[in-house]
Symmetry: C2
Subunit: 199 residues, 2 copies
């Protein structure tokens, strides 16, 4: 059993470690948003974060590892899973969170990079892994609960729902150059849940 | 009244004019898809089309004029308005045409340019004008007919429908790096028309 002193040292080390990781992630996302994946370098990230580049390489052997982890952390962070007991309210909450992220300068920069440099296989794999692992997992959970409650039919196509909602936000923002207002976001959710033919 | 000889000369001039325009448009879209808007130049387009650059400048004073007209012509061309008497069939036909265009190397290049260079105000204005003038007009017509037949309620939000369908295709293609199969395209149309909550 560790002594009080050893526990204190352990907690301090952990706190420093978390602080280090947060600083490196923030610097990574800023670099990514500002200059894209291709021009991002580990030494630049380390300099911006004010840390030693060797310590960065020790945790993330390649810049793809670093960017993947930084993106996953930022997505996980911005998306606490809503659980209101109502599928429309859950989906609206998720979609508004996503809209807030992609409308921020950081989120917009990241989104542009994923699209712009999609021909780079490393970037393509980042984009699909973010999409599949982070967004899809969260929406899948919301849909699973809605099916269990009888709000949605068995066999609801979660992936199609997700592509459609995320795509509508993306199109509005990047092609139409419009704002992701709450009324637009809610309109998209109502459309995919109830359809234009309703009433 | 023109003589037969004058009519023949007139028809010949028109034919040559159309041939000229077609060659210039094709060269413009190829340049755009290959290198983007920023790097496109009128002299390069003229060289690729095998025409005199002065003749190009005479018709299109700026490259933005040229690109706008070339894009509008290509969209108009690929989108003969479907009129099957059934809103689902009409929308599926439109969406499959759009999917075919953006999955072609040319369409994909053009789409990437509109997204990548969206920070350039000339490109942003091109993207919105294409979206508003070409796509929106066609979908609006289909929706208007569907409302007249009673297939869709009065006040159906055409623009929301369009953003959602176009966005779903774009997301699937550029973020998920998936194919726009007929079953995916039809699934999107069924989702926006009937909603996930149907049955």
């Amino acid at each position: 059993m560790p002594t009080a002193r050893a526990r204190k040292v352990g907690a301090e080390t952990r706190r420093r470690g978390e602080h280090f990781v947060r600083k490196v992630y923030a610097a990574t996302l800023e670099q990514l948003a500002a200059g894209g994946f291709d021009r991002l370098t580990v030494p630049d990230v380390a300099a911006r974060a004010g840390v030693n580049k060797t310590s960065v390489y020790r945790r993330w052997p390649t810049k793809a590892d670093l960017v993947r982890d930084a993106l996953h952390a930022s997505m996980g962070h911005s998306q606490e899973l809503p659980d209101t007991g109502n599928v429309r309210a859950d989906m609206i909450e998720m979609a508004r969170l996503a809209a807030g992220f992609v409308e921020s300068p950081l989120g917009l920069g990241v989104l542009r990079t994923l699209l712009t440099e999609g021909a780079n296989p490393e970037v393509a794999s980042l984009a699909t892994s973010m999409f599949r692992q982070e967004q899809a997992k969260a929406v899948h959970e919301i849909i699973k609960r809605a099916i269990a409650r009888g709000d949605l039919p068995e066999g609801t196509n979660t992936r199609l729902l997700l592509s459609t909602v995320a795509g509508a936000l993306m199109h509005r923002l990047l092609v139409e150059h419009g704002r992701l207002t709450p009324s637009f976001v809610d309109g998209v959710i109502d459309l995919v849940l109830f359809g234009a033919c309703k009433r």
